[in-house]
Amino acid sequence: MSQKVVPCDESDPKRAKDEDVRCILDGLLLQMIHLIEDLELLHSQVNKESCRAQLVLARVRLHQGFHRIPAEAQLPRGRPYKALTRVIEKDNYCGKVFKIIRLPVNAILGYLLPVKNIFGCLVSDNLRIANRHCDNCLDLVVECANVQRKLQLTIISIENLRNLLNQTTMSSDAK
């Protein structure tokens, strides 16, 4: 079946507008693919960091024995303390984004370092390293959430533009 090829007529303002919309759509589709790629990379980095943290914790058990660190006994209960790391939503030019804020340790105000609060003041190197990996995981998860949001906005924009194009095509066909 041969398709009727309509040459682009730049003098036709409606066609020019359609052309612009299609160019924007192409750009958005490319952006969507890049964002999907970024998201997958971030997912694999989160997976890598959390696996590394788990292995380092297994190393702690090798050094200190399986029985010495039952977290169930050491997790604080009944002594409230405030989180050092908070996730907040901030406005920027492309909408709302998540941001991590890290508060300084201040025992008087109840801002305690979790690793010392749970495992005591003599924290081994391995526990500190596992803690760092978990902190990196947090940063990556927030970045993931931001990329996911951008991706959703891009997909919504693509759908809106497609709807707009479809409406334009339908109205020109009706004429």
């Binding site: 190393r59 090798l62 029985h67 006994a73 002594r79 003041c121 390293i129």
Partner: protein
């Protein structure tokens, strides 16, 4: 000495050497590292001297189950030696159990401070560290009462320092309490072994001095960045090691790993522990690993001499390390991260 030793302890020494000969060799570790699942690990373990330790349990294979069964075998071997021993070996064997008792007490203190129920905490205790009064401690409703019970009736009562503030125990860090108890234990064990004399004194004072130095260096490094005062750090350092008092005093004031390394460099063997650590940024080989490797080597060398109690101590230490190695291999397989499976601590038995 050798004739007298053999009449009392010859059988137990031979038995312990037999146990030690049954420990895993390099080829056994190779088999374990090539396993693809925990079931394979359990089958490989049953092909070693451990035998059919997993019994008829129908539960799914897990790292916890493997650790529990290996630990039960160690318990059997320990209690067999202990129940057939006579004094002074009996007291010596009890000294081997005290660190586990200290760990159990530290666990109970931490748990009580965090409002956990005693019943649950008692289930988490290590069986080798159980003592008669442990169950009776259930009536203690806070950690100060717990220590009153410890002070009066328990075997580790003598390790509680007089200057430990009982009234503020719930606010004291449990690691600091553990460090104080362990220091007292090491020094008393050292004094006991010195008093025994002969080969036992030679071998055990060497091992315990190394352990004391290792505790000192580890506490000094772990205390970096904490708010423990130099005076309090010094109180946690055991004094029965090779490191002289001046080294302990200077390490209690240091807040950088490089400066601690400089102090250790003066004493042959300890400075090398810090070499090349910065190359491994993944945290797989740390100071603790270096100390464990050296400890394994020293414990294996203990078996080169006869007619001393050191082999009982070394066997328990080596067996514990073997259990931890097998648990490490199992964890790598369970987590499907087998690139680091060979990072267990080698025991040079071959």
């Amino acid at each position: 000495m050798s004739m007298i030793f053999n009449t009392e302890y010859g059988y137990l020494e031979a038995l312990t050497r037999g146990f030690k000969n049954g420990m895993l060799k390099h080829s056994d570790y190779l088999n374990l590292t090539q396993c693809e699942s925990l079931e394979d690990v359990m089958i490989s373990i049953q092909g070693t001297d451990y035998g059919l330790i997993f019994g008829g349990e129908q539960s799914a294979p897990s790292v916890e189950r493997i650790e529990r069964c290996l630990r039960d075998r160690l318990l059997q071997q320990y209690y067999y030696i202990r129940s057939h021993s006579t004094e002074p070996l009996t007291t010596f064997m009890e000294f081997i159990r005290y660190p586990f008792m200290i760990d159990n007490v530290a666990l109970l203190v931490a748990g009580l401070n965090n409002h956990r129920s005693m019943k649950r905490l008692l289930r988490m205790c290590h069986p080798l560290g159980e003592f008669d009064q442990l169950g009776a401690i259930e009536v203690a409703s806070n950690s100060a009462e717990l220590f009153d019970a410890v002070l009066i009736d328990t075997p580790i009562a003598r390790f509680v320092p007089r200057d430990l503030p009982m009234e503020s125990l719930r606010y004291l860090d449990v690691e600091i309490v553990r460090a104080h108890l362990y220091r007292a234990y090491l020094e008393k064990f050292y004094a006991y072994c010195s008093q025994l004399g002969g080969n036992t004194a030679n071998v055990m004072t060497n091992l315990l001095s190394f352990e004391a130095d290792r505790r000192t260096i580890t506490i000094a490094v772990n205390a970096i960045g904490s708010d423990i005062s130099p005076k309090d750090r010094l109180k946690m350092f055991p004094t029965c090691g090779y490191l002289p008092k001046i080294a302990l005093a200077s390490m209690s004031n240091l807040n950088e790993t490089d400066k601690i390394r400089d102090v250790c460099n003066v004493f042959d063997g300890y400075g090398k522990m810090f070499d090349n650590l910065e190359r491994d940024s993944d945290g797989m080989i740390t100071l603790e690993d270096r100390f464990l490797m050296m400890e394994a080597k020293k414990n294996v060398q203990t078996f080169l001499q006869q007619y001393h109690f050191g082999i009982f101590y070394s066997f328990i230490k080596l067996k514990q390390l073997e259990v931890r190695n097998i648990v490490w291999i199992s964890e790598c397989i369970a987590q499907r991260q087998t690139d680091r499976i060979n990072a267990f601590i080698p025991i040079p038995l071959d």
